[in-house]
């Protein structure tokens, strides 16, 4: 594998340039339909291979989680292959990709472990800093492999442990701990994103390094979900889900802080990616929290949030990493540090989607986390509320850090480049550069709105229009029951988009009607001047102008008259009362701090009086 990685420097081939897209598109489409089918049928499929399965216990396994992750990874890989030529990289980066595909499909533990360790070692080959953390991941994975058969109670220690068997059993805390360590190293949370930072510093925006970032994170989240959500159904899990939660929170905070500290563009992007993964890991922690007690209705909500967040953030960051590669290419070609305007605008749009700016998708994920936190059960009321308060505070900090980090990333080239990009915004939408990226970003925005559309169709039409439910007593009142009300940000995003579209349409129409001339091209367009001159001509314009003046000033005049008649005496009173105002002002100015302290003391006193 390392030889293959090193071969990149000598080999820039383009074999199967066009044919390779066909199987990728086919696999994406089939994966999409498969995941939809599996979501609705709740089925799992096991497929053991005839001869190799007999010899090595290799088998394939497919359920909703697999299919969803496969869809994400296929889309990501498809994008990278699509832009392969413009990124200037060869086919060899498909090796880890194929590895991850097999890993997601693998049906038993040993097959899975083997593929995962190969992936880890490949990444170790990428990071020339020779960090210790991949080996920590590998070691904890091997510990799990040694411990798990004894736990499950299978015959031999190295008999193939299929996931069908593993789903049925519950694990000891030791195994769960080591799985947590492995997945956190893979996601980049555990040595507090230092490993990933090293990789991104090494890669400087190379396609392969970005691709490995994405694959490792997806694998880590898959591992965490595979072992935590499906399997833990006993009360010992509560502690571990809380541990997952805490790791997610702290790692996200640290990554956000680092994104403000580090210097280069690629490092910032990498930090922000780790941050968004930390948010998802938080969701996983809360999801596992809800499995044990009788709160199954929140479980489906957490599942929705997780699926939505994984898809939007994975595909969104695929585009972000692609753009950072383009940035590297343009900077190398032109020899400047300035960010090319179309790239900057694309990044700006993606930052709206991913950063957690309110009505958009990133915020929806954080908002779902908040809702889950507020409904999080625990033993004692006080403990519950204190923990919830603390975690909500940290979530707020994560949101602020993410927004500031994205702002800093956008402003890497200085504010002048952003200004230039905003000037070129009309050209961005009409020009043909990065058409595919633009289409992809538009697709992501539409996908982020889709839950809102579905919600509107599925719930609002039967209840409000067809009157099929009890809550339709007030027509068009948008009455909602509790569970549906949690989908509200998407509704608001939809409403918002509609209003903006309507306003834009009106403005566009107005502009079409308007005579368009400026000083520059007034000589060129003489035909439009006619109407303007007519409207402002003396015979017509003066009367309307005078009417307008009267309209404007009549109200003010009336008020002034009233003011005068009443204010005659008011002025006298005021003169007497406010004789000593300047003394008071000087006093306050001299003793500001004392006044402030007095006010705070008064407020506290009044609070305490009310509290008593």
């Amino acid at each position: 594998m390392q030889g293959g990685i090193a071969a990149k420097r000598y080999y820039r081939g383009s074999i199967l340039t066009d044919l390779e897209n066909v199987p990728l598109i086919a696999s994406v489409v089939s994966c999409f339909f498969l995941s939809i089918y599996l979501v609705f049928s709740f089925a799992t499929t096991s497929l053991s291979l005839p001869i190799i399965g007999k010899l090595f216990g290799v088998s394939f396994y497919l359920d909703t989680l697999n299919a969803f992750c496969l869809l994400c990874v296929f889309l990501c890989g498809g994008l990278f292959v699509f832009f392969k030529r413009s990124l200037g990289c060869s086919h060899y980066f498909l090796l880890p990709y194929v590895n991850v595909l097999f890993l997601l499909l693998s049906g038993n533990l040993y097959f899975f472990t083997g593929l995962l360790s190969v992936l880890i070692l490949m990444t170790y080959g990428l990071s020339v800093g020779r960090s210790l953390s991949p080996f920590i991941a590998l070691a904890s994975l091997l510990i799990v492999v040694v411990l798990l058969p004894g736990q499950v109670g299978d015959k031999g220690n190295f008999a193939p442990l299929s996931f069908d068997v593993l789903r049925q059993s519950s694990f000891s805390p030791v195994i769960l701990f080591f799985i947590l360590v492995t997945s956190c190293v893979l996601i980049g949370l555990l040595p507090f994103s230092q490993w990933r930072m090293n990789i991104s510093r090494q890669g400087k925006g190379d396609a392969v390094y970005s691709f490995m970032h994405l694959l490792l994170s997806m694998t880590g989240i898959y591992l965490l979900l595979r072992f935590y959500v499906d399997l833990g159904r006993n009360n010992e899990m509560l502690l571990f889900s809380f541990l997952v939660e805490v790791i997610g929170v702290f790692a996200a905070c640290y990554a956000g802080w680092q994104s403000l500290v580090v210097k280069t563009f690629q490092e910032r992007i990498s930090c922000l990616y780790v941050l968004s993964n930390g948010v998802l890991v938080q969701t996983i922690g809360m999801m596992t929290f809800f499995i044990a007690p009788e709160q199954q209705e929140w479980f489906s909500f957490a599942n929705d949030i997780l699926g939505y967040g994984m898809f939007i953030q994975f595909i969104g960051f695929t585009f972000v990493f692609l753009l950072s590669n383009f940035l590297k290419e343009t900077q190398e070609n032109q020899g400047t540090e300035v960010i090319y305007a179309p790239i900057l605008i694309s990044l700006l749009l993606l930052s709206f989607l991913l950063s957690g700016l309110p009505p958009f998708a990133g915020f929806s994920v954080l908002w779902g986390n908040l809702q889950l936190l507020l409904a999080m059960p625990s033993g004692h009321h006080l403990v519950e509320t204190l923990l919830t308060t603390m975690l909500i505070g940290f979530n707020a900090v994560i949101l602020v850090l993410s927004l500031l980090g994205w702002m800093r990333t956008i402003l890497t080239g200085g504010i002048a480049s952003l200004q230039k990009a905003v000037y070129e915004l009309p050209d961005y939408f009409s020009s043909k550069t990065f058409v595919e990226v633009k289409i992809g970003i538009a697709f992501l925005f539409i996908t982020a709105l889709l839950p809102g559309f579905i919600f509107l169709l599925v719930h609002s039409v039967p209840t409000n229009v067809m009157g099929l439910s009890d809550i339709s007593h007030s027509f068009f009142s948008f009455s909602l029951v509790g569970q549906q009300a949690r989908l509200m940000p998407w509704m608001i995003a939809l409403l918002f988009t509609l209003i903006v579209m309507i306003v834009g349409w009106i403005a566009h129409r107005e502009r079409k009607k308007a005579p368009t001339f400026s000083l520059r091209d007034s000589c060129a367009e003489t035909t439009h001047h006619h109407s303007v001159v007519e409207e402002t001509s003396f015979s017509f314009g003066q009367a309307s102008f005078q009417a307008m003046l009267e309209r404007r000033f009549s109200f003010i005049n009336a008020l002034t008259t009233v003011n005068y008649t009443i204010g005659k005496y008011w002025l006298l009173i005021k003169k007497r009362c406010l004789k000593y105002t300047h003394v008071l002002n000087v006093f306050l100015w001299q003793y500001q701090n004392a006044c402030l302290l007095l006010m705070i003391a008064l407020v506290l006193l009044s609070i305490s009086v009310i509290a008593r």
């Binding site: 309110p358 905003v422 608001i492 918002f496 209003i499 502009r511």
Partner: protein, 314 residues
């Protein structure tokens, strides 16, 4: 159907009132502040006229503006402000889109406004206003923890985050539950630090460099945003004063009796907040954002502590 018509009329009246009164309230606050500080005060009934005259300029330049998507940005901000104004009840609950009026969503929409202001400032060459709006943006983002704490308090007290839920909760409890009301009051006071900076926008350095196309709109959006924040604080200050609109004949008679009082209470609360804000702005002299953020965080955390104190007392 009749009830729906009533909610529609009430919502329409509410939004019209907010949209019309917004510049007046802003002007009133600035007038009060000038009176307290002893500087020459612009009469607050001139303020609407100023915006009106600017808007006339706006119309003339709107027609000659170049084709660009960025000229739509102020309209995005206006849309966000108007939706937020629709969601925050002023004198009555049970308006047409009351089921959407979640505290978090109101915050989200109000946070859209500084972001779009910053993006609008990028269109113009004035570095002064760009710098000011960047600072405002970062400051308002730093207030997010405070807002989340207040969200938590509301959730703890009423069991939900909807604004109507707050009002209904405080109506249903027969006597005034002081221990539930006290943290809400402190939270309202900490929100006053959030709106601290909003009146600064219409000063010269804020509006420096904006063309006629956006100037009036930006002033107006800022005013609407200010009034929506004040209404939000007003709900937290005295939730019992809002009337509750529910279907049913007897409910509607009760509502009809309560509405004038609710309206009067809203006006009084807005007046009080303007006075408080003017006093704070002229006396406390915290010009830096980070101090205000710190005080607001401390106050909102104090509110949570007060909530726990109330629990132990019960």
């Amino acid at each position: 159907m009749l009830f729906w018509l009533l909610t529609f009329v009430v919502t329409f009246l509410h939004i019209m009132m907010v949209l019309f009164l917004a510049p007046w309230v802003m002007g009133f606050q600035k007038w009060l502040e000038a009176k307290i500080q002893g500087v020459p005060a612009v009469p607050f009934w001139f303020y609407w006229g100023e915006i009106y005259s600017v808007n006339i300029k706006r119309l003339s330049s709107f027609l000659t503006s170049t084709y660009s998507y960025t000229s739509l940005l102020p309209f995005i901000a206006l849309g966000a402000a108007i939706i937020a104004a629709l969601l925050v009840p002023t004198f009555t609950t049970g308006m047409m889109i009351a089921s959407l009026s979640d505290f978090l969503l109101v915050i989200a929409l109000l946070m859209m406004v500084p972001v779009s202001f910053f993006l609008i400032a990028l269109r113009y060459p004035s570095l002064k206003s760009l710098k000011l709006l960047q600072t405002t943006l970062v400051d308002s983002l730093l207030f997010l923890p405070v807002l989340f704490f207040i969200l938590t308090i509301i959730r703890f007290i009423t069991g939900g985050t909807s604004l109507d839920g707050v009002v209904i909760f405080f109506h249903q409890v027969g006597e005034l539950p002081l221990m539930a009301y006290c943290p809400l009051l402190v939270a309202a006071f900490s929100l006053l630090f959030v709106v601290w900076d909003i009146p600064n926008f219409s000063q010269r350095e804020g509006m420096d460099g904006f063309g006629g196309a956006d100037r009036g709109l930006l002033l107006y959006i800022n005013d609407v945003q200010f009034l929506v924040w004040l209404s939000l604080i007003a709900i937290l200050m005295w939730p019992q004063s809002l009337a509750i609109l529910q279907p049913g004949n007897d409910h509607i008679t009760v509502w009809l009796r309560a509405v004038p009082f609710g309206f009067l209470a809203w006006v009084t609360k807005i007046f009080t907040e303007c006075l408080l804000l003017a006093m704070m702005r002229s006396l406390l002299l915290f010009s830096n954002g980070i101090y205000r953020v710190g005080i607001a965080v401390v106050l909102s955390f104090l509110a949570i502590i007060l909530y726990f104190a109330g629990l132990s007392g019960a």
